[in-house]
């Protein structure tokens, strides 16, 4: 094999590795939960506004009254949203554009909106959402015989 071919091959493998690395970074999926809930932090109380509307790309994703939770799945760590905040009933809606970097290793990210709006440090308003594992206990693998069962979906 000529040196040129070896270099081309190594280059190709490197390209794949780089591509894989890029995909690992940009493809990480998260579920973001928005909590419109009063937050206690270092003795301070940050109370929830009357209503928060979460817009993503101009679409309202969730309309949250106090003590409600909304969610949205997203790919990648940069998460842009707009919050429409109504402090009092029948009050004026005030729109805030905001941008949040999500921690890579969290599947479910809870953002406490009152804490976020108050400008607290990240560890105060971001927490991890841990879902209960689905209760399903089928630990038998199908044997050869069951393989013949004809799957209608193809």
């Amino acid at each position: 094999m000529s040196a040129r071919r070896i270099i081309v091959r190594i280059g190709f493998v490197l390209l794949l590795v780089v591509l894989a690395a890029v995909m690992l970074v940009i493809g990480r999926g998260h579920t973001v939960y928005f909590d419109n809930k009063t937050l206690e932090y270092e003795g301070q109380t940050y109370s929830a506004p009357y209503r928060v509307v979460v817009y993503i790309k101009g679409q309202p994703i969730a309309k949250l009254k106090a003590r409600e939770r909304g969610m949205k799945t997203t790919i990648g760590q940069s998460f842009g949203m707009a919050l429409g905040i109504t402090q009092e009933k029948d009050g004026e809606e005030q729109i805030i554009e905001c941008f949040q970097k999500l921690p890579y290793n969290m599947d479910g990210v809870i953002i406490n909106l009152p804490g976020y709006l108050a400008g607290l440090p990240e560890e105060a308003y971001i927490s991890e959402f841990v879902a209960a594992p689905p209760a399903e206990d089928e630990d038998e693998a199908p044997g050869e015989d069951e393989e013949m069962l004809i799957d209608a979906e193809l």
Binding site: I75, P134, D139, E144, I150, A152
Partner: protein, 382 residues
């Protein structure tokens, strides 16, 4: 004059029917079953287009081993397993959407190459019975796959995500949800024409693969493969490394099957860990043969025709069966019977053709030998 021409035409038609008996049979079946099933044309077309997008890539991977004279690659399931393992890792890493699909394809490559090399070297030791051997390899590897996925993943191979791990702490669940990458390729650039969704990107990828196959046929390696497929001994005398060429053809097929499986599963939206791959080889091969391919000759056109005919039959058979007999199970069994029947007929036709040509060439040889002795005798008399 005229009558002989007519006769020629008649034999030509007969010959055509004989060579294309399987597609013609399927056209007839579809022709009868479609009205009986009572499906609307738009539903049918939608279904067929979806199934084309999801299956063609997988079926195309069968072409290259056929080119190399290794018959129908029943071991394409190996590629499917590699794709599934890659998808399990991607799900574990929680990479979603198109990046997830691309990452899975990259991950599948090393597994596919490894399995392809294994399969190819076994097949090189079983020349002349590649098909039955590849068929058994697919079963054997299914055992190894279960050993790895059911017992090693989570215990030896780190799998941390609870959603794909069995509650007992190791092994992968029976179904792995791919909801987060469901139809992400199909939906990007999708075009709707009168309610029929056309997954343009998927078709583009398929088109690229077709171009690759056409290009590959013309390369040195592709030419070598065809030479090996024609006659191994002649190819070897011509200085082609037969074993190596055959090995490469299986590796390419396996890698492509891995990609195909990922495209297939992103469309389905969930992975049946222990059964997704088991039937895929059989159905792909049946579809290819329905398109008029044979064990030693298959083209891209066969793939497209085959997918359309086979899947039309597959969609309409249960309800057509229910309409005729009042039992939808009949239709389900019927379509399975059709898939097996088609493969059987194609194999029988191939083998008997091979035998005919073999005995013909033997007869010619004998005749030539006789002529030679005759002329030698004449010369002696003179």
């Amino acid at each position: 004059m005229e009558s002989s021409e007519k006769k020629n035409l008649g034999t030509a038609i007969l010959e055509f029917i004989r060579n294309n008996i399987v597609p013609i049979m399927f056209i007839v079946i579809c022709f009868f079953c479609i009205p009986l099933s009572g499906f609307s044309p738009s539903y049918l077309i939608n279904e067929i287009v979806t199934r084309m997008g999801r299956n063609i890539f997988l079926i195309l991977c069968l072409l290259i081993p056929i080119m190399a004279g290794m018959g129908l690659n029943f071991a394409m399931t190996l590629g499917a397993m590699a794709g599934e393992i890659a998808l399990i890792f991607v799900s574990d890493l929680q990479i979603w959407g198109i990046p997830g699909v691309i990452l899975a394809m990259i991950f599948s490559i090393p597994f596919s190459i490894l399995l392809g090399l294994l399969c190819g070297s076994i097949l090189n030791r079983a020349k002349g019975r590649e098909m039955i051997t590849s068929y058994i390899i697919s079963f054997f590897l299914n055992g190894l796959y279960q050993l790895v996925v059911l017992f090693m993943m989570g215990s030896i191979i780190p799998i941390r995500h609870f959603s794909i791990k069995l509650p007992r702490g190791y092994g992968i669940r029976n179904t792995v949800s791919l909801l987060n990458m469901r139809q992400c390729l199909d939906n990007l650039l999708a075009v709707y024409i009168r309610g029929v969704k056309i997954p343009v990107l998927t078709f583009l990828i398929i088109g690229l693969l077709c171009l690759f196959i056409i290009w590959f046929r013309k390369t040195k390696l592709g030419q070598d493969m065809r030479a090996v497929g024609q006659d191994m001994q002649v190819a070897r005398d011509a200085g082609i490394n037969v074993e190596h060429t055959r090995l490469i053809s299986i590796v390419i097929s396996t890698v492509m099957a891995g990609f195909g499986m990922i495209i297939y599963l992103q469309n389905m939206g969930n992975l049946s860990t222990y059964s997704s791959h088991s039937q895929i080889g059989m159905f792909c091969i049946a579809a290819l043969l329905v398109g008029g391919a044979s064990v030693d000759k298959a083209s891209i056109g066969n793939v497209f025709l085959g997918v359309i005919l086979f899947h039309t039959m597959f969609i309409v058979a249960p309800s057509a069966g229910a309409a005729i007999t009042g039992d939808s199970m009949i239709g389900e069994y019927f379509r399975v019977f059709c898939s097996y029947g088609v493969i059987t007929i194609a194999l029988v036709m191939y083998e008997s053709k091979k035998r005919r040509s073999r005995s013909r060439s033997a007869q010619e040889l004998a005749r030539a030998a006789a002529r030679e002795t005759e002329s030698a005798g004449k010369a002696a008399v003179k």
